[in-house]
C-alpha cells in the first residue's frame, strides 16, 4: 500500500463531518442546560429521566416497535419469496415484476406515500398504524430482496439437487438445507428492515393519521426548544441501538456467506 497522507487526512476529516452531528448527541444529552449551545454547563442525567417520564414518548415508542416488528416480518417474508423466485427460477415477466418490486428504491418516498394516501383516502380506508405498516413494507421490501438475493445466490445449487437426489421432497429440501443456510441472511434482512422502519418518517407522518409514532414525535418535539435536550437523550439511545442492531446484522450476513462456503465482500447492499 502506498502512503497517501493527504487523502488519508481528507478521509478522516470527511468521517468527522459525517459523525460530527452524531457526536454532539451524547455531549448535549448530558449537558446541564436547556439551551443547546457551547460552552457546556456541567454533567446531568436529568434529560434521560425527563425522557423516561414522558408518557407520550413511551406511547410513541410502543407504536413504533409494533410497526417496526410487523414491517420487518412482512418485508422479510415477501423478500424471501421474491429473492428465491428471482435467483432460482426463470419465468415470464420476471424482469418487469422484479423492477416493480425494487421500484421504491428509486422513487422519492414522498411520491410513494402520497400515491398510497390518495388511494386510501379515495376508497375510504381510515388511516392507522396498519396503513403505516402497509406503506413501510413497500419501502423495506426492496432492501429485504437485495439482502436475501445475495444470501440465496451464495447457495450452491447442487446442494439443493443433492438433497433431492438423496430422497427429500422439494419442501423438505427447503426446510433442511436452504432455510438453515440462508437463515443469517433472513436475520440480517429482518434487522435492517426493522431499523429502516423504526427511523422512517414520511410514511409514518402521512399515513399514520397523527398517531404517536417515534419519528413523527421527535420531529414535532424539536420545534420546542425546551424539549430538545430530552430528544437528544433519546437520540443518543436510538443511535446506540442502531449501531448494535446493524453490527449484529452485518455479523449474521458474513456468517451466512461463510457458512454457505462463499467469500465475504462489500458491505451493506
Amino acid at each position: 500500500m502506498k502512503k497517501a497522507p493527504g487523502l488519508r487526512s481528507y478521509t478522516l476529516f470527511y468521517l468527522l463531518f459525517l459523525y460530527g452531528p452524531i457526536l454532539l448527541l451524547p455531549i448535549f444529552a448530558f449537558n446541564d442546560s436547556r439551551v443547546v449551545a457551547f460552552p457546556l454547563q456541567g454533567f446531568t442525567t436529568g434529560w434521560f429521566a425527563e425522557m423516561a417520564a414522558d408518557q407520550n414518548l413511551r406511547n410513541a415508542a410502543k407504536n413504533s416497535l409494533i410497526i417496526a416488528l410487523s414491517v420487518a416480518t412482512i418485508s422479510t417474508v415477501l423478500g424471501i419469496f421474491a429473492a428465491r423466485a428471482s435467483v432460482r427460477y426463470r419465468f415470464p415477466g420476471k424482469g418487469p415484476l422484479m423492477s416493480m418490486i425494487m421500484l421504491p428504491l428509486v422513487l422519492p418516498e414522498m411520491i410513494v406515500a402520497m400515491a398510497l394516501l390518495v388511494v386510501l383516502l379515495s376508497i375510504g380506508i381510515p388511516l392507522s398504524l396498519f396503513t403505516v405498516i402497509l406503506g413501510q413494507t413497500l419501502i423495506c421490501t426492496p432492501f429485504a430482496v437485495a439482502i436475501l438475493t445475495s444470501a440465496f445466490q451464495s447457495l450452491d445449487r447442487s446442494l439443493e439437487e443433492a438433497a433431492l437426489d438423496l430422497g427429500e421432497t422439494p419442501w423438505s429440501t427447503f426446510r433442511l438445507i436452504i432455510l438453515p443456510l440462508v437463515m443469517p441472511g433472513i436475520l440480517a434482512s429482518f434487522l435492517i428492515c426493522f431499523t429502516i422502519s423504526f427511523d422512517e418518517f414520511i410514511i409514518a407522518n402521512f399515513l399514520g393519521s397523527g398517531q404517536p409514532i417515534l419519528s413523527v414525535y421527535i420531529f414535532g418535539q424539536f420545534r420546542f426548544p425546551a424539549k430538545v435536550p430530552s430528544m437528544l437523550a433519546l437520540g443518543t439511545l436510538l443511535v446506540l441501538l442502531s449501531i448494535i442492531l446493524l453490527g449484529f446484522a452485518e455479523y449474521m450476513r458474513r456468517r451466512g456467506i461463510a457458512k454457505a462456503g462463499g467469500k465475504v465482500s462489500g458491505g451493506f447492499l
Binding site: 447442487s158 443433492a162 437426489d165 430422497g167 462456503g261
Partner: protein, 366 residues
C-alpha cells in the same frame, strides 16, 4: 476389461432429445448401459454429457424420447425417487452438517433404528477410507476428503446407478490418479453401475468398461476403450482420443471386404473393411497412432512395411522421444514415439531414417 454383453440392461436411451429454448442440447441419444458396468460419457465441454447425466438423475426433463432405468420409464419419476444417486462436481457437501450427518442424510426416512443407521454410516465411511472422520465438520475437509464423503453419502443408499459428474476435476494430478484407481476398486467391490462424466480422455480410458464419446449433443461412438482407441469411428473421435497422424489418401478400389488406398508418403495399402468404419463423406485420410510407427536402427528389417523419412523435430520426454518425420520425400509429416532403451540413441533433426509401419494399424476415414 470385463465382457459386458451378457449382463442385463440397466439404462436404455431411446431417441432422447433435449431443447433449452432454441438450443438443441441432446440430439437423438440412443444406447444402453449394462448393470454393473463402469460407463463413461466423454466429450469436450458443451457436448451434452452433463445434460445427459442430469436427465438420468431427473434434474432435467427430456423434450422427447424415453429413458428407462431398470426396465421402468422415468418420464414421470421425480429425482428424489429415482434409483440413482449422484456425486456432484462441487461435491455439494452440506456445509452446516458434520461428515456423519452428511453421509446419513439420505437415511432420514429409513425405518431402521438409530443404531443400525449409525452402523451403516460408519460402514460407508470405512468403505471410502474415512474411518473415524464422522464427527468432523464438513468445512474442515480437504478436496479429496469431500469427494469421499460425497461418495459415501451416495453409496449408503445402495442405488442401482451411481452418477459421477466430473468428480476428479477439482483434484490435483497426483490425487486424481490415486482416486481413479480407488474408484475402480470401489466399483468392483459394490458392483453398482457407475456412470462417469469426464472431459479427460485418459481418465475415461483408464476407468471405463465402455465409453460414449459425445460431440454437439450426439453420441459419436459407443465402445470399449480398446476399440475406441484402435478403431475410432470418425476422424473427430480419433482426434479427441489420444494422438493420431492423419495422412491424405485416395481410394483406388473397393471390393468385398477389401479397400485399396494410395496414402501419401506410404504408397498403396490394402485394408480390411473393418479398418474403414463408416462413410461420413469427409475427404479420405488414413490415421496412424504414433506408437504404431517405429524407427529402424542400423540394418533392422521392418516386419511389414517401411518408408523413408527425414526428421523435422525431436521432442525428448525422458522415457520417450517423439519424432516428427517427413515421409518419403513428401510434405506429409507424422509424429512417432520411441521408447528410450539402452543402445538406442536419440536422433537429430535432419537425420535420414527408415520408418516401419503395419497396414493393420491403419484406420481409414472417408
Amino acid at each position: 476389461m470385463t465382457a459386458t454383453d451378457d449382463r442385463p440392461t440397466m439404462i436404455e436411451f431411446k431417441d432422447v432429445h433435449k431443447y433449452y429454448g432454441d438450443y438443441h442440447a441432446l440430439r437423438g441419444i440412443n444406447g444402453t448401459i449394462k448393470a454393473g458396468e463402469f460407463f463413461s460419457l466423454l466429450g469436450p465441454s458443451g457436448c451434452g454429457k452433463t445434460t445427459l447425466l442430469r436427465t438420468i438423475a431427473g434434474f432435467e426433463d427430456i423434450s422427447s424420447g424415453v429413458i428407462m432405468i431398470d426396465g421402468k420409464d422415468m418420464a414421470d419419476v421425480a429425482a428424489n425417487v429415482r434409483p440413482t444417486n449422484m456425486v456432484f462436481q462441487s461435491y455439494a457437501i452440506f456445509p452446516h452438517m458434520s461428515v456423519e450427518e452428511n453421509v446419513g442424510f439420505g437415511l432420514r426416512k429409513d425405518p431402521r433404528s438409530k443404531e443400525d443407521k449409525a452402523r451403516a454410516v460408519a460402514e460407508a465411511l470405512e468403505q471410502v477410507g474415512l474411518k473415524g472422520f464422522g464427527k468432523r465438520a464438513a468445512h474442515a475437509l480437504s478436496g479429496g476428503q469431500r469427494q469421499r464423503v460425497a461418495l459415501a453419502r451416495a453409496l449408503i443408499l445402495k442405488p442401482k446407478v451411481l452418477l459421477l459428474d466430473e468428480p476428479l476435476s477439482a483434484l490435483d494430478k497426483k490425487m486424481r490418479e490415486h482416486m481413479q484407481v480407488e474408484l475402480i476398486k470401489l466399483q468392483r467391490q459394490v458392483g453398482i453401475t457407475f456412470i462417469l462424466v469426464t472431459h479427460d480422455q485418459e481418465e475415461a480410458l483408464v476407468m471405463s468398461d465402455r465409453i460414449a464419446v459425445m460431440f454437439e449433443g450426439e453420441i459419436a461412438q459407443l465402445a470399449d476403450p480398446e476399440t475406441l482407441y484402435r478403431r475410432p469411428a470418425t476422424r473427430k473421435v480419433a482426434d479427441f482420443i489420444g494422438t493420431m497422424n492423419f495422412i491424405p489418401a485416395s481410394i483406388l478400389s473397393e471390393a468385398g471386404d477389401k479397400v485399396e488406398v494410395e496414402a501419401k508418403g506410404l504408397g498403396r495399402v490394402a485394408l480390411d473393411i473393418a479398418q474403414a468404419p463408416e462413410k461420413t463423406g469427409e475427404t479420405p485420410v488414413v490415421g496412424l497412432r504414433p506408437e504404431t510407427l517405429t524407427l529402424l536402427y542400423d540394418d533392422q528389417k521392418a516386419p511389414e512395411r517401411e518408408t523413408d523419412g527425414v526428421i523435422d523435430e525431436v521432442i525428448y520426454f525422458g522415457d520417450m522421444t517423439y519424432y516428427d518425420v517427413y515421409l518419403g520425400g513428401t510434405d506429409v509429416e507424422v509424429r512417432l514415439s520411441m521408447r528410450n532403451v539402452p543402445g538406442r540413441p536419440v536422433l537429430d533433426v535432419g537425420d535420414r531414417v527408415r520408418v516401419a509401419w503395419s497396414p493393420s494399424a491403419l484406420v481409414l476415414f472417408r
